[in-house]
């Protein structure tokens, strides 16, 4: 199914086969507007891009002002292509409605991949991707782990928006507590120890907490749990590309819950605990100046701490740290938010759509345009926020010029060494499960979240280890079932007989 072409320049001469542009429309709602159409039937210029006046639609989750500017830049490069875009409100609903109405977007990104794969919304873009030399200089896990390929030989999607998980430390708290700042290439154990050391309770007023969290530590631990030699983890819940092993997750889950139960973790916003600690129901721990370590989304820095005057207002001095690994390894994987984007199977101009996808996501030209926008803080979104503070992602290209520009958007004072070390350490992203593992969300929905495992373990009424065997069995089943459903004969039909048999064996074993 995967076909390669030598150069994108040849693309214009090609008549795209069904695989690249629509495939078998049966069962694909996204194909409803393009039945039997093999793709671009118009004229192509020397660069392989159509000379027809066309419109491409892009649906996304980004700041709409940013995409307005990027769309303008793209249209300057391709004057015959008009780009229309909109923010997705609810992925499943919006896309199914669009499929039914025959106005499916040409390019879209999603917050989970199961929806797109189950409905065959994304086309195989391997031809374009493989032939594009720019793609040789991306963060290595994209290729090593087949991020966007979903354990098949075809590429259906690419990471469009990348935010690594991040640990942040408030240097002011560390100083107040007479602690030492840890080394930036710290280990997991060193982080846990700092969380414990920085939890100080003088039995008067507000205590200092070691940790404030947005991301649970078990999510981070799942990637950081062992050396690659022990198990090559390439996804959450101990996923190694073939199957799951939740024993790794269980260690992190229990460790995190034990920290919570023992009082090392700050209360969450809008809780009675927060009201008792800070006096206000809606206080955010990140603005108290009494939390040392934060397990946060990377965007928290941009959206809040990175805003001009914010840290000064709350007496903070925030620097980033990489999410550590259990082994003392300089370069290791880091769990990441990665919105995946692809070209729709219904798209009539898949090559042009690929170019748009790349421009809006990881392409160097698109990132040059982004940097122009982000560096000009007079450009603001509807909320009046400079665009670099509004959902700015991180490049996945390793292009040096892009990275120099990107890094210049962050503090250049004595915090710069922390940022430099952080950026150097996040080149091996591994997406959260729902972005890149088929059936992951089904597993969470049908088993993990349904039982409420986090709540039970956090309350101390259950141990994470109790769930390892059954959860592993369930995860493997849901993954295997999804692989057959999405990529077997009833779906994209790209699995070999051997692969099908392996997945079927897992399903059969579960159902026995």
């Amino acid at each position: 199914m995967k076909r390669k072409i030598l150069s994108l320049l040849l693309a214009g001469a090609m008549v795209f086969g069904l695989a690249a542009c629509g495939g078998d429309s049966t069962g694909s709602a996204g194909n409803s507007g393009n039945e039997g159409d093999g793709g671009n039937k118009g004229q192509a210029g020397a660069n392989g891009v159509t000379t027809d006046d066309i419109t491409l639609t892009f649906w996304h989750y980004e700041d709409p002002t940013t995409i307005d500017y990027l769309a303008e830049k793209f249209m300057e490069t391709y004057p015959n292509i008009k780009v229309e875009h909109r923010v997705i409100e609810d992925m499943s609903t919006d896309l199914s409605n669009a499929a039914a109405a025959g106005n499916f977007p040409d390019v879209f990104e999603g917050t989970d991949s199961d929806t797109a794969l189950a409905n065959m919304y994304w086309a195989d873009i391997s031809e374009y991707y493989d032939a594009d030399p720019e793609n040789k200089n991306l963060m290595p896990t994209i290729e090593e782990y087949g991020i966007g390929c979903f354990d098949t030989s075809a590429r259906y999607a690419m990471p469009m928006v990348y935010w690594p998980s991040a640990i942040f430390i408030d240097r002011n708290v560390i100083k107040t507590l007479n602690l030492e700042m840890p080394r930036t290439d710290w280990t997991w154990a060193e982080m846990i120890q700092l969380i414990k050391d920085a939890t100080k309770d003088e039995r008067t007023g507000m205590k200092y907490y070691g940790l404030g969290y947005y991301n649970r530590l078990d999510s981070l631990y799942g990637i950081a749990a062992c050396s690659p030699e022990e198990r090559a983890l390439k996804g959450e819940f101990g996923y190694d590309g073939t199957d799951f092993d939740l024993s790794y997750w269980a260690v992190g889950e229990q460790e995190f819950s034990d920290l919570k139960l023992a009082g090392y973790v700050a209360p969450q916003q809008e809780t009675a605990e927060m009201e008792a600690w800070s006096g206000n129901w809606d206080t955010w721990f990140g603005a108290t100046g009494r939390v040392a370590v934060f397990s946060e989304g990377f965007w928290t820095y941009q959206n809040l701490w990175g805003q001009e005057g914010y840290q000064e207002q709350y007496g903070l001095d925030i620097v980033p740290y990489v999410t550590p690994n259990v082994i003392d390894e300089k370069e290791h994987n880091v769990i990441s938010t990665m919105y995946m984007g692809g070209v729709s199977t219904s798209c009539k101009y898949p090559y042009e759509a690929y170019l748009l996808l790349k421009f809006m996501g990881w392409g160097i030209d698109g990132w040059k345009a982004r940097l122009e926008i982000y560096q000009d803080t007079s450009i603001t979104n509807e909320s009046g926020m400079p665009l670099k503070n509004a959902q700015m992602p991180m490049p996945i290209t390793l292009d040096q010029e892009i990275w120099e520009g990107y890094k210049s958007l962050f503090p250049q004072d004595d915090r710069k060494p922390y940022w430099d070390d952080f950026f150097a350490s996040v080149t091996r992203p591994v997406p959260y499960g729902w972005y890149n593992i088929a059936g992951y969300w089904n597993f969470c929905d049908q088993y993990f979240n349904k039982i409420g495992i986090h709540d039970l373990v956090d309350a101390g009424s259950a141990k994470a280890a109790d769930y390892v065997d059954e959860a592993t069995r369930q995860a493997n089943y849901h993954h295997a079932e999804a692989m057959i459903s999405y990529f077997g004969p009833g779906g994209y039909d790209v699995l070999s007989e051997e692969e099908l048999a392996q997945y079927q064996a897992v399903v059969d074993s579960f159902l026995q």
Binding site: R203, G263, E270, A276, K450, Y467
Partner: protein, 672 residues
């Protein structure tokens, strides 16, 4: 409270201004004249401010205040009007609301006074009933806290579904459907309607509107329907401005249908966290207001009024049913001046102590103290005088502090505590706390878990692992003493130690309660017409929620434990009824149920269900299934319940039942 129903007379010079989307139900078009009019309120009129004409030109003419019709209900929430018909109401254990036994509290509001609620209770407006599908609701509110689905106003003909078996309500609430919490979200539900519609709406701009006075007006006109004809599209105004013009609000019909079971609730419902804040100027009209009238309601209030919640007053109440009390209600008892009896702590056994703790709030140590000794001693007698061989193994205070003869003080590392602010722990939580202490002795180690639950429901958890000089063979007793406090010992019980029974025919879940909803099932058992079956279960519950127990489902198909019951796995599968242990259920189109329970206190029931032997006699007769249940808890107490369920089941139809549950460990012992 005397309901003020005032006709609101405004200037006769007023002309309705028209909005293109909201409130466009008046004759006449917007005109330039309308923007030039001012209002001269009459002496009886409620609005006390004069709307200012807009100085801006826009495509939509701003609404101008208009005369209000006579409301069907009006609550000024002024102290002078009294509190009749306003009942402080709290969410009880499980899905119940009940009178909170509190007084209505008034604080300054946007106009006169407002009613204040402190987060431990809301308000029920007892006399309010439905006024029909055409209605308008308006109120002012100041929210000091929010949470997902926390109600501001929630109302309906059968909010909890007690009368009809189906919930039917509208809730103006917070939700994070857009990705972040925001207000006002509109959520309505009609469980009995076809498809059980549950439309929800959230605003375009994320804002919780916390800590500010805000005016909400919802105008429901059933002639304004969604394109598919399924929902009513009401107009929603926030501070007099329409917010539903760009994105229609969908609600189901009948949310204001009159009913004998009508609830009109403020800041409380059957399920969610309770609001802390204030309400003011609540109107219910049986007409659809115009945009101008919505503006009038907003302009009648002053949102700049300072929010001044009252200081909390703790009343030390004496429980007549306490086993023992120590200290005194003046909260000035000195240390080591009063003691409870000493209770044996056998090795390897968990003992549970329940206390009411009232503290002076002046010092961290003005609370209960646990003392572990080697011998029994009598109440109010210094245990040190019990005998010459008296030994003290350890003493542990509520504030995670203690000592042993060998180690004084016990190091902090032996303790954990979840509270983060000792000042609020001392002055807010412990001044009136419900305390549950579990003590488990393992040879020379004392493992202590103390849940100190404050008036707000906040569980301040303290654990201690204390190493003592006693040996496994030494006797160990525990007594309480106190300082600067009054402590009531309410109960002394054996803890729950779950031991899986090897004779169980089938089990659901794990002993750590890892049972998800609709995740595990027993095999289906046939129940023939006229037949009675006696079922015995052991039910262990996590005790967190009422529904964390066994559930019985009646179906038309014999199911097996290895497949999820449903049409996907069983052709023609249908459920007649599903009945939970906590006297709650649902079923097919003809489902109806009555429940009779011997218990009144759901907290007692919930605690019993943590370890209970269940005997159910299930009888089928025509369309009726009767479940007679006897519960015997770990203390030997017996409770009974009877559920009578009707459905589409007929005498000649097949009928089977199976058990499932949630966050429980269930052993099916026998079916006869």
């Amino acid at each position: 409270m005397k309901k003020k129903i005032l006709a609101l007379f405004l200037s006769t010079a007023m002309t309705a201004a028209m909005l293109s989307a909201c409130g466009n139900n008046n004759e006449g078009a917007s005109g330039s004249d309308s923007t030039k009019q001012t209002l001269e309120p009459s002496s009886e009129s409620t609005p006390e401010t004069t709307p200012k004409p807009s100085q801006e030109s826009s495509e939509q003419e701003p609404a101008q205040a208009e005369e209000l019709p006579a409301p069907k209900y009006y609550f000024s929430f002024d102290e002078a009007d009294g509190a009749a018909g306003i009942t402080p109401t709290a969410k009880g254990a499980g899905e119940v609301i009940e009178p909170a036994g509190k007084e209505v509290v008034f604080i300054p509001g946007v106009k006169g006074e407002a009613v204040y609620i402190d987060g431990t209770y809301g308000l029920r407006l007892d006399e309010v009933n439905g006024v029909g599908d055409t209605y308008s609701l308006s109120f002012w509110m100041y929210a000091n806290r929010n949470a997902n689905y926390m109600p501001t106003t929630q109302f309906g003909p059968d909010v909890h579904g007690d009368a009809t078996g189906g919930q039917h309500y509208l809730n103006i609430t917070w939700a994070d459907w857009s990705g972040s919490s925001e207000f006002p979200c509109i959520w309505s539900y009609d469980q009995n309607a076809e498809g059980s519609p549950w439309p929800q709406w959230y605003p375009e701009t994320a804002d919780t509107h916390l800590n500010q006075w805000i005016n909400i007006t919802l105008v429901v006109d059933p002639s304004k329907m969604s394109e598919d004809g399924q929902f009513i599209n009401p107009d929603l105004y926030v501070n007099g401005e329409c917010v539903s013009d760009k994105k229609p609000v969908n609600i189901i019909s009948g949310t204001m249908a009159p009913s004998d079971n009508f609830d009109f609730l403020l800041g409380v419902n059957y399920w969610d966290a309770m609001l802390k804040g204030a309400f003011d100027e609540l109107y219910i009209f049986d007409t659809a207001l115009t945009a101008g009238q919505a503006k009038t309601l907003y302009e009648a209030g002053d949102p700049t009024v300072a929010y001044n919640p009252p200081e909390r007053v703790v009343e030390v109440t004496v429980a007549e049913n306490a086993l023992e009390t120590i200290g005194n209600t003046d909260l000035n008892a000195g240390f080591w001046t009063d003691w409870t009896s000493a209770y044996e702590i056998p090795n390897g056994v968990t003992k549970v102590f329940k206390l009411n703790n009232f503290s002076s709030g002046l010092e961290l140590f003005h609370n209960y103290v646990m003392v572990f000794t080697n011998e029994a001693s009598e109440a109010h007698t210094d245990p040190n005088t019990a005998s010459d061989s008296h030994r003290e193994w350890a003493a542990v205070r509520a504030d995670a502090y203690g000592w042993t003869p060998e180690t004084n003080p016990i190091p902090d590392s032996a303790f954990t505590w979840t509270w983060g602010n000792w000042e609020s722990w001392k002055t807010v939580s412990m001044v009136d706390a419900d305390v549950t202490i579990e003590v488990k002795r393992e040879d020379n180690i004392l493992n202590i878990t103390a849940h100190n639950v404050d008036y707000n429901g906040l569980d301040n958890l303290m654990t201690a692992k204390v190493e003592t000089a006693m040996t496994a063979d030494d006797p160990c007793y525990m007594l309480f003493t106190c300082e600067g406090s009054y402590v009531e010992l309410m109960a002394v019980e054996d803890g729950v130690d779950i031991k899986a029974d090897p004779d169980a025919k089938e089990t659901l879940g794990t002993t750590t309660f890892g049972l998800g909803w609709w995740a595990e099932f027993t095999n289906g058992i046939e129940l023939k017409e006229g037949e009675s079956k006696t079922v015995k279960l052991n039910n262990y519950s996590s005790g967190v929620e009422n529904w964390h127990n066994y559930v019985i489902a009646f179906t038309n198909t014999q199911t097996t434990a290895d497949k999820v019951p449903g049409a996907d796995n069983y052709e023609g599968y249908a459920e007649y009824a599903v009945v939970r242990a906590d006297a709650y259920g649902w079923g097919d189109a003809s489902y109806a149920a009555t429940f009779e329970n011997s218990w009144e206190d759901w907290n007692v029931w919930k605690d019993a269900m943590r370890d209970v032997e269940v005997t159910m006699v299930i009888t089928r007769n025509g369309s009726e299934i009767v479940i007679d249940t006897t519960l015997v808890d770990r203390k030997g107490n017996e409770m009974t319940s009877k559920a009578t369920v009707t459905s589409t089941l007929t005498a000649d139809a097949p009928c089977y039942f199976f058990f499932t549950g949630e966050q429980a460990f269930i052993e099916l012992m026998s079916v006869e």
